[in-house]
C-alpha cells in the first residue's frame, strides 16, 4: 500500500497541533516517525486511521484520495494501529480482548469461539508468547498487555501496521521477537510506521525516518544517510550533549535498608540497601515483579514478611501516607492512571502531596501554594503557559515532570522512580536525568526501576537484577554490561 499525506493541518479548539505535515509510506518499508513529546505523531496517525479528521490537507492511498469515516473503516481497508494508549479491557479474558469489535460470528451474530481460539493460538505461537487465553487481561503485566495489542494488529492481516511506541513497556527479549516479526512482515510487502523515542531501535530496524517538530514535518531521510546527532538536532532544533549526564556520586550514610521482604507468590526475600546520593538501578524482564516490590515498599500493597529500615530505625509502612512520612516518594510507572489527577491543574497536582505544609491547620494558604508551585515548575522546566493548565492537556513528558515535581516537593530522602522516562522524548529524558543528578548531589537516594537497558547502564551507580520475584544478581556500575544484566534477568548466572 502506498500512502501519501500532504500538508496536514489539525487543531483541537484553539490548540494548533499539526501545521503542515507531509508523510509518505512505501510498500515493504519500515518508516520511523520521531519527534518530541507533543510534536503530533499520534495525532497524525489518528488522522490517517480515521479517528480524527484533518482540518486541511490530503491523504492519498494507492493514488486515490481517501478519508476514513472511523477507525473501523480504516481497519477494514487494511490499516492496523497499535496505539500508544493500551486499549485493554482488564476484566475480560485475553481471548475476548483479542477479538473485541471484530468477533468472528455467523450471520445471526452468534460467536464462533473455536475459530477465534485457533486464530489466537496461531498468532501467539508466531509471537512466541504463552499467555493463557482465558487469563483476565487486567492480571497481565503492562508488557503482556502490549503483546496482546501487537497480536491484535497481526491478526488483521493488514497491509499497513502503525506501531506507536510498542516497545515502551517491553524488555529486550520481547523486543527482539517483535523486530524479528517486523522483518518478516516487510518481506511480504507489509509496510510499517514505527514511532519510538528509543534511538537505538530506530537505527536497528527502520529504513526511513520522518522527524516532526512542533506540528511540522522537518525532514525525511534514509536511515543509512543520517546519524544520531543529526536526528536529535532536527527534533529539538539544537545540538544535544551526551544522552546521559556524567555522574560523580558522593555517597553519604546508608539511608534505607530492606531485609527479607516477601509476599508469597509475588516476590521473595528482597534484600538491599541504598546510600544517600546513590542511584540504585533495578532491572529485570517484564513481569519480574519489580513494580510489585516498589508498591509494597511504598505501602500500596501489603507484604507478608520482612523489614524496612530507614536511617537505622525499623519502620512500619502501612499505607502511602505513612511511607511519605518516612521520607519515601514514589513515581509510578503509569502516570495517567496512578500519578496524576488529569482534571486537576498543574498547581493542584503538585500541591496534592504537600497539602500538609500549605494547610497546617486545614486552611490552604493560596499564596504560599502558588509560590511553591511556581518554583517547582521552573526548577523542572515544565513547559506550560500557566500553572492553572489542566494536567490532562500536557504532553507526556511534561506530565511526567509534574509527577516528579509533586514528589520532589516533599523533600524526600528516597525517591522511587518506576520507569521514569517511559514514553518520553530524548530532550525531556535528558532533563530528567539532569534532575536525578542534581537531586542525588543534594543527598537524595534514588531507586530507579527501568526496562530501558541503556538507561539503567547510563544512570545507575549499582544495579540489582530481579528474576521471578527474587534478586538474581547485583552489579556495580563498572562491571555491568547489557549481556550480564540479561543473563541474570533470564535466571542464568
Amino acid at each position: 500500500m502506498r500512502i501519501l499525506m500532504e500538508n496536514i493541518h489539525k487543531a483541537f479548539g484553539a490548540n494548533k497541533v499539526l501545521e503542515g505535515v507531509n508523510f509518505e509510506l512505501e510498500p515493504g518499508e519500515i518508516h520511523a516517525l520521531m519527534g518530541e513529546n507533543g510534536a503530533g505523531k499520534s495525532t497524525l496517525m489518528n488522522i490517517l486511521t480515521g479517528l480524527f479528521h484533518q482540518d486541511q490537507g490530503k491523504i492519498t492511498i494507492n493514488e486515490k484520495e481517501t478519508v476514513f469515516a472511523d477507525s473501523k473503516e480504516a481497519e477494514e481497508a487494511g490499516l492496523a494501529f497499535i496505539r500508544q494508549e493500551l486499549n485493554i479491557w482488564p476484566q475480560m479474558t485475553v481471548l475476548e480482548n483479542l477479538f473485541i469489535g471484530r468477533e468472528k460470528r455467523n450471520a445471526l451474530g452468534v460467536l464462533k469461539e473455536k475459530e477465534m481460539k485457533a486464530l489466537a493460538n496461531d498468532v501467539f505461537k508466531r509471537l512466541n508468547i504463552s499467555i493463557p487465553l482465558n487469563k483476565e487481561a487486567g492480571k497481565c503485566s503492562v508488557g503482556e498487555q502490549q503483546m496482546i495489542e501487537i497480536a491484535k494488529a497481526l491478526m488483521l492481516d493488514a497491509e499497513v501496521i502503525i506501531m506507536d511506541e510498542p516497545t515502551a513497556a517491553l524488555t529486550d527479549r520481547e523486543i527482539r521477537m517483535l523486530f524479528q516479526i517486523m522483518k518478516e512482515l516487510t518481506a511480504t510487502g507489509v509496510s510499517l510506521v514505527y514511532i519510538s523515542h528509543r534511538m537505538e531501535e530506530i537505527f536497528e530496524i527502520c529504513d526511513r525516518i520522518t522527524v516532526m517538530r512542533d506540528g511540522v514535518s522537518v525532514a525525511t531521510s534514509f536511515i543509512k544517510d543520517t546519524s544520531f546527532d543529526e536526528i536529535v538536532k532536527q527534533m529539538v532544533g539544537r545540538e544535544l550533549e551526551d544522552r546521559y549526564p556524567e555522574r560523580n556520586p558522593k555517597y553519604g550514610q546508608t539511608i534505607m535498608e530492606v531485609k527479607g521482604l516477601t509476599r508469597a507468590g509475588v516476590f521473595e526475600d528482597i534484600h538491599f540497601s541504598i546510600k544517600e546520593g546513590e542511584i540504585l538501578g533495578i532491572s529485570g524482564l517484564m513481569g519480574a515483579g519489580r513494580t510489585e516490590i516498589m508498591r509494597a515498599l511504598f505501602g500500596i500493597d501489603p507484604y507478608d514478611r520482612g523489614e524496612i529500615i530507614m536511617d537505622g530505625k525499623p519502620v512500619s509502612i502501612k499505607n502511602p501516607s505513612s511511607a511519605a512520612k518516612q521520607g519515601l516518594a514514589f513515581i509510578t510507572e503509569d502516570r495517567k492512571d496512578e500519578g496524576l489527577v488529569l482534571d486537576f491543574s498543574i498547581r493542584e497536582n503538585i500541591a496534592l502531596t504537600n497539602l500538609e505544609s500549605f494547610a497546617p491547620n486545614g486552611m490552604v494558604k493560596a499564596t504560599d501554594e502558588k509560590q511553591f508551585v511556581k518554583m517547582m515548575v521552573e526548577r523542572l522546566k515544565v513547559k506550560t503557559e500557566s500553572q492553572e493548565t489542566q494536567a490532562g492537556n500536557l504532553s507526556g513528558g511534561n506530565q511526567q515532570k509534574v509527577v516528579i515535581a509533586k514528589w520532589v516537593g516533599t523533600s524526600p530522602k528516597v525517591l522511587i522512580m518506576d520507569e521514569p522516562t517511559r514514553g518520553i522524548d530524548v530532550g525531556a529524558k535528558r532533563e530528567i536525568y539532569n534532575l536525578m543528578n542534581e537531586l542525588t548531589e543534594r543527598g537524595l537516594a534514588i531507586i530507579m526501576v527501568s526496562s530501558d537497558l541503556p538507561e539503567v547502564l547510563g544512570m545507575s551507580d549499582r544495579i540489582l537484577v530481579i528474576h521471578e520475584g527474587k534478586i538474581s544478581g547485583e552489579l556495580s556500575k563498572e562491571e555491568a554490561t547489557q549481556e550480564k544484566i540479561m543473563t541474570f534477568a533470564t535466571g542464568g548466572n
Binding site: 479517528l51 472511523d70 477507525s71 473501523k72 473503516e73 481497519e75 496505539r83 486499549n87 485493554i88 479491557w89 482488564p90 476484566q91 475480560m92 475476548e96 477479538f99 473485541i100 469489535g101 471484530r102 468477533e103 460470528r105 445471526l108 451474530g109 452468534v110 460467536l111 507468590g265
Partner: protein
C-alpha cells in the same frame, strides 16, 4: 498464583451458596416453604422482578443504570389496558405494550448516547416523566374492564405444564438474554462498553447504537413485566412499579455484577432475584413484622455484597 484459578471457580458459586444457605434456613424454620405450591407461588412472584433485573443486567454491565423501569412498567400497563378497553385484541395489546416498553427504553438510550448524559440523571428524569404521563393518561385511577380473553388471563395467571406462565415467560426471557450476552457479538460489545468505553469507541464499536439497544432491552423487559402485572391484577394501576428499580438493581448486584460495569453474569442476576424473592416470601411465611422485614432485607443485601467482595 496457583490458588487463583481454583478460587475463581469457587467465587462464581458464592451467590449460589448464599442462595442454598438461605433455602436451608428458611425450610428449617418453616417446612411449608418447600411446598410445591409455594415454590410455584414464589416463581410467579419473582417473575416481574426477574424480567426487569435481566434487562437491568445489560444496563449495569455497561456501567449504566435504569431508574425508569418501574415507570415504564406502569405506563405500558396503562396504555395496553387502554387498548384492551378500546376493544383491541388483548394479545395484540400485549405485544404492542411490550414493544412500547422497548420504545421508551430506546428514548432513554438516545438521550444517554446522543446527549452524552449520565444514565442516572436521564432515567431519573424519565422516571418522573413516564410516571406523570401514566397519571395523566389514567387520571390517577386504575383501568379496569379488560374483558375476559382466556389467553390474556393465562398470561398472568395460567399454568403451562404445571408452571405458572409468568415464570415460563421469565425463564424464556432468561434463555434468550443469556444467549445474547454470552454467545453473541452483541454481548461482547456490552461487556466491552462497560469495561472501557473509550477503547470500545476506538476499536470501532458503534457505542451509541449498542447503548440504545441496551436501554431498549431494559425498557422492553419492563414492558413485558408490565403486561404480566396487568394480567395478574386484571387491571392497570397508575402507581404500579414504584421502587421496582431498587429491587432489580439489588438483585443484579447481589448476583455479582459490578456497578462499575464490565463484569458480571446474568445467571448471577437470576440467583439474586431468587434470593430477594425468597427473602420476601419467607419473611411473610415466618410472620416477621413488616418493620423488621426492611431491616433484615437491607442487612442481607449488605452481607451478600460483602461476601461477594471478599472473593476478589
Amino acid at each position: 498464583m496457583k490458588t487463583s484459578k481454583l478460587s475463581t471457580i469457587w467465587n462464581k458459586f458464592i451467590p449460589l451458596l448464599a442462595l442454598v444457605g438461605l433455602i436451608v434456613v428458611v425450610t428449617i424454620l418453616n417446612p411449608s416453604f418447600m411446598d410445591p405450591a409455594n415454590i410455584m407461588n414464589l416463581l410467579r412472584q419473582i417473575s416481574i422482578n426477574g424480567l426487569i433485573a435481566f434487562g437491568m443486567t445489560f444496563v449495569i454491565l455497561t456501567g449504566g443504570i435504569d431508574l425508569s423501569v418501574g415507570s415504564i412498567l406502569a405506563l405500558t400497563s396503562a396504555l395496553s389496558a387502554g387498548m384492551m378497553v378500546a376493544g383491541i385484541d388483548p394479545i395484540l395489546a400485549i405485544v404492542i405494550g411490550t414493544l412500547l416498553g422497548a420504545v421508551f427504553g430506546a428514548l432513554n438510550g438516545v438521550l444517554i448516547a446522543k446527549g452524552k448524559l449520565a444514565p442516572f440523571i436521564v432515567t431519573l428524569a424519565t422516571m418522573t416523566i413516564f410516571r406523570g404521563l401514566t397519571l395523566v393518561y389514567t387520571g390517577g385511577k386504575p383501568i379496569t374492564g379488560l374483558g375476559d380473553s382466556y389467553a390474556f388471563q393465562l398470561f398472568g395467571k395460567g399454568y403451562f405444564l404445571g408452571i405458572p406462565v409468568p415464570a415460563v415467560t421469565m425463564i424464556l426471557a432468561f434463555i434468550v438474554l443469556w444467549f445474547m450476552l454470552h454467545k453473541m457479538a452483541f454481548g461482547r460489545k456490552t461487556y466491552a462498553l462497560g469495561g472501557n468505553e473509550k477503547a470500545a469507541l476506538i476499536s470501532g464499536i458503534k457505542v451509541d447504537r449498542v447503548k440504545v439497544m441496551i436501554y431498549s432491552i431494559s425498557g422492553m423487559m419492563a414492558g413485558l413485566a408490565g403486561m404480566i402485572l396487568t394480567s395478574r391484577l386484571n387491571s392497570a394501576q397508575p402507581t404500579a412499579g414504584q421502587a421496582y428499580e431498587m429491587d432489580a438493581i439489588a438483585a443484579v448486584v447481589i448476583g455479582g455484577t459490578s456497578l462499575a460495569g464490565g463484569k458480571g453474569r446474568i445467571a448471577g442476576t437470576f440467583i439474586g432475584v431468587l434470593i430477594i424473592g425468597i427473602l420476601n416470601n419467607a419473611m411473610n411465611l415466618l410472620g416477621i413484622s413488616s418493620f423488621y422485614q426492611q431491616v433484615v432485607k437491607g442487612v442481607v443485601i449488605l452481607i451478600a455484597v460483602l461476601l461477594d467482595r471478599k472473593r476478589s
